[in-house]
């Protein structure tokens, strides 16, 4: 089948073409550009699923797609492996779902802002997918920049203080991208190659040199900034708080997970973890993760703005992923990957609900959510599911990723990690259950309605359905987590962990 051979490239090509043409279509008719982008996102999702089918049919062997039929290491290639496709399906699915959700926020915009929003939205998806699928280090830099630039635009569109937040992120993000470029430069100087698979072979004689240590440190800082790892997370709370409420689901869900996945790919697939430099780097990563978990949770406890609390909670959850990577064994790795996917759904769901509250009432004070279970029933149930998952209560998905992290920590006898995981789960329970308490127990808060509810569910159907789907996703990811681990993640484990 012709489509099947090219499906890796369609994942990036379809949204790219659609978002480039989006403004021209929007010029013809205000809504046309948005529809074209949504159609392309559907195409990208189907291509991701098709790629996953292919790679699983091939028994987990990596599928290579050579651009222009130039053979690597000269040419650029897209590499599809089981983990890749899982992350790709997650990105394209969330992107597709949130694209419907954004529509009510754009009702009163003119064609330029409507089309511009969907252009940036499509480009953000292109950047995220490209970073995940590419097998070339410099190509990844290009997609990193596409993702960041589109992200700055979407954050700046939020109004109010969003300009300052976006500018701050721009400054910090540019430093991160520069570090990444510096790292590539050192890698290229050592190996003379830009292809990941090629570098992983050629780097072996250099793994004990100071240059290698410096290059790896550059990558740690670069991805640390992009994934908002403590103490490099300064840009993140403002950006998440003030970003465009329609896109906040995608921004918070995927924009920090994909750099985390890229870091994981570099550390486990390219550099290998069995050398002294990487061992000490893993220790640093673990300490950063632990500090992030504790400080993120404590800071989240102190917030009264719902969005800001979620942003700090993201810092803590990214800490889990870092700890999972730092453990450096199979269970830790599986936990990190699983948490990456699960947390994308949880945070996306919570930010969609917060966006819904903003849409209807215009304020998101944590202590003024009383009686929301009657006003917005679907959203309240979704919040419940997400909260249970954040705290880590089965059968929601958060439990399983934490379970694997604990197993990993036990296996490598890092008992302090277990203690931190337990403490942080308790802190999660404290600051998340107060939301549930506010919503279901407190008496009704007097809030002014900006938009009268169009349906009985309290929000337009465009918004209720995505909230419901992501909420259901949390539950399904939990129920089918063993399938996800056995059929996909464990097939794609890196070779370094098998020894």
């Amino acid at each position: 089948m012709i489509f099947g051979v090219h499906s890796p490239v369609f994942i990036v090509l379809l949204p790219l073409s659609a978002s480039l043409l989006c403004l021209a279509f929007s010029r013809l008719h205000r809504h046309l550009g948005g529809w074209v982008v949504q159609l392309s996102l559907l195409g990208a999702f189907l291509s991701s699923v098709d790629s996953m089918r292919q790679v699983l049919d091939a028994g987990g062997k990596t599928i290579h797609y050579w651009m222009g039929n130039w053979q690597p290491p000269i040419g650029i290639e897209f590499a599809i492996d089981p983990l890749n496709t899982a992350v790709l399906c997650m990105i394209t699915f969330i992107s597709l779902v949130v694209s419907f959700y954004s529509k009510p926020f754009l009702e009163n915009e003119d064609w330029l802002h409507y089309g511009g929003y969907y252009t940036l939205y499509g480009l953000l998806t292109v950047g995220l997918c490209g970073m995940t699928v590419t097998g070339d280090v410099f190509n990844m830099y290009v997609y990193l920049e596409i993702m960041s630039l589109a992200g700055y635009g979407l954050i700046a569109m939020g109004g109010h203080k969003s300009m300052v937040a976006a500018f701050r992120y721009l400054l910090v993000g540019t430093i991160g991208a520069s570090f990444y470029l510096l790292g590539i430069g050192f890698l290229y100087a050592m190996t003379g190659s830009l292809n990941m698979a090629d570098i992983s072979e050629r780097i072996v004689p250099f793994v004990h040199t100071p240059l290698f240590a410096f290059a790896v440190a550059c990558f740690l800082v670069a991805f640390g900034i992009k994934m908002a790892l403590f103490p490099l997370h300064g840009w993140q709370p403002d950006s998440y708080t003030y970003s465009h409420p329609g896109a906040a689901g995608l921004i918070s869900g995927c924009m920090s997970k994909v750099p985390a996945y890229a870091m994981l790919r570099y550390f486990f697939y390219v550099f290998g973890i069995h050398n002294t430099v990487m061992q000490s780097l893993m220790n640093v990563l673990g300490i950063m993760g632990i500090c992030g978990i504790l400080i993120g949770s404590v800071m989240a406890l102190a917030q009264y703005d719902f969005r800001r609390m979620l942003a700090y909670s993201s810092v803590a959850q990214l800490g889990y992923i870092a700890v999972g990577m730092a453990l450096g064994n199979i269970h830790g790795f599986v936990g990190a990957v699983l948490h990456l996917i699960n947390h994308a759904f949880m945070k996306c769901c919570l930010f969609l609900v917060v966006g819904g509250i903003t849409y209807r009432f215009g304020e998101v004070n944590l202590y003024r959510l009383g009686g929301l279970n009657k006003k917005m029933p679907v959203s309240s149930i979704a919040v419940c599911l997400a909260v249970l998952s954040m705290v880590g209560i089965p059968p929601t998905c958060g439990f399983f990723s934490k379970w694997y992290l604990m197993l990993g920590a036990y296996e490598s006898q890092q008992y302090i990690h277990i203690v931190v995981l337990v403490i942080s789960s308790l802190l999660n329970a404290v600051y998340y259950f107060r939301i549930v308490e506010q919503m279901f127990v407190q008496r009704e808060a007097s809030l002014t309605e900006l938009h009268e509810p169009a349906t009985k569910l309290g929000l337009p159907m465009n918004m209720v359905v995505p909230i419901g789907i992501t909420g259901l996703g949390i539950l399904l990811l939990g129920v089918y987590s063993s399938t996800l681990v056995n059929r996909i993640v464990e097939i794609g484990l890196p070779e370094v962990l098998m020894r």
């Binding site: 012709i2 090219h6 490239v9 090509l13 790219l16 073409s17 978002s19 480039l20 043409l21 989006c22 403004l23 021209a24 929007s26 010029r27 797609y65 050579w66 651009m67 222009g68 039929n69 330029l112 252009t119």
Partner: protein, 151 residues
């Protein structure tokens, strides 16, 4: 600034020489870019320069060599799409993405098709760069006009 053209006899005469020359020169740079210094970016800048010059001298109301902001924004995207189009055509011709040997035109496969593919990409880049320069100018000028009625 842009509402009042600052042309006079001298500038208007110079305009008749400069703008067509810069546009023709841009096309020259674009075509030759494949095998010599030049290419899409330079051609786009030179062509954009011609149009910026026309707007400075003739003013915003003029219809000669003038592209409005809303069109230039849409065209910048379309220009980049021409680049992507080269990839789509190679896919339609049965090859891999951006494998120029499979462009569906009846030319000598080895070099003529490759030259054609590169030319398509250069044209896309030219349109994109030119429109982006116009966008930047429009935005900067709009900032400097206080009344915001200049649309």
């Amino acid at each position: 600034m842009m509402k009042d053209p600052f042309g006079g006899i001298l500038l208007n005469i110079a305009f008749r020489l400069l703008v067509p020359f810069s546009v023709v020169y841009a096309v020259y740079v674009l075509i030759l870019g494949e095998s010599s210094p030049g290419g899409g970016f330079q051609a786009g800048v030179v062509m954009g320069f011609g149009i910026v010059l026309a707007r400075l001298i003739l003013g915003e109301e003029s219809t000669i060599f003038n592209i409005k902001l809303k069109n230039s924004l849409a065209l910048a995207g379309c220009g980049t799409f021409i680049y992507t189009m080269a990839g789509w055509l190679t896919l339609a011709g049965g090859g891999k993405f951006l494998d120029y040997s499979f462009l569906p035109f009846s030319l000598e496969p080895a070099h003529e098709l490759h030259a054609l593919g590169i030319l398509m990409i250069e044209i896309g880049v030219t349109v994109c760069v030119m429109m982006t320069i116009l966008n930047i100018m429009d935005v900067v000028v709009k900032r400097s006009e206080d009344d915001g009625s200049a649309e």
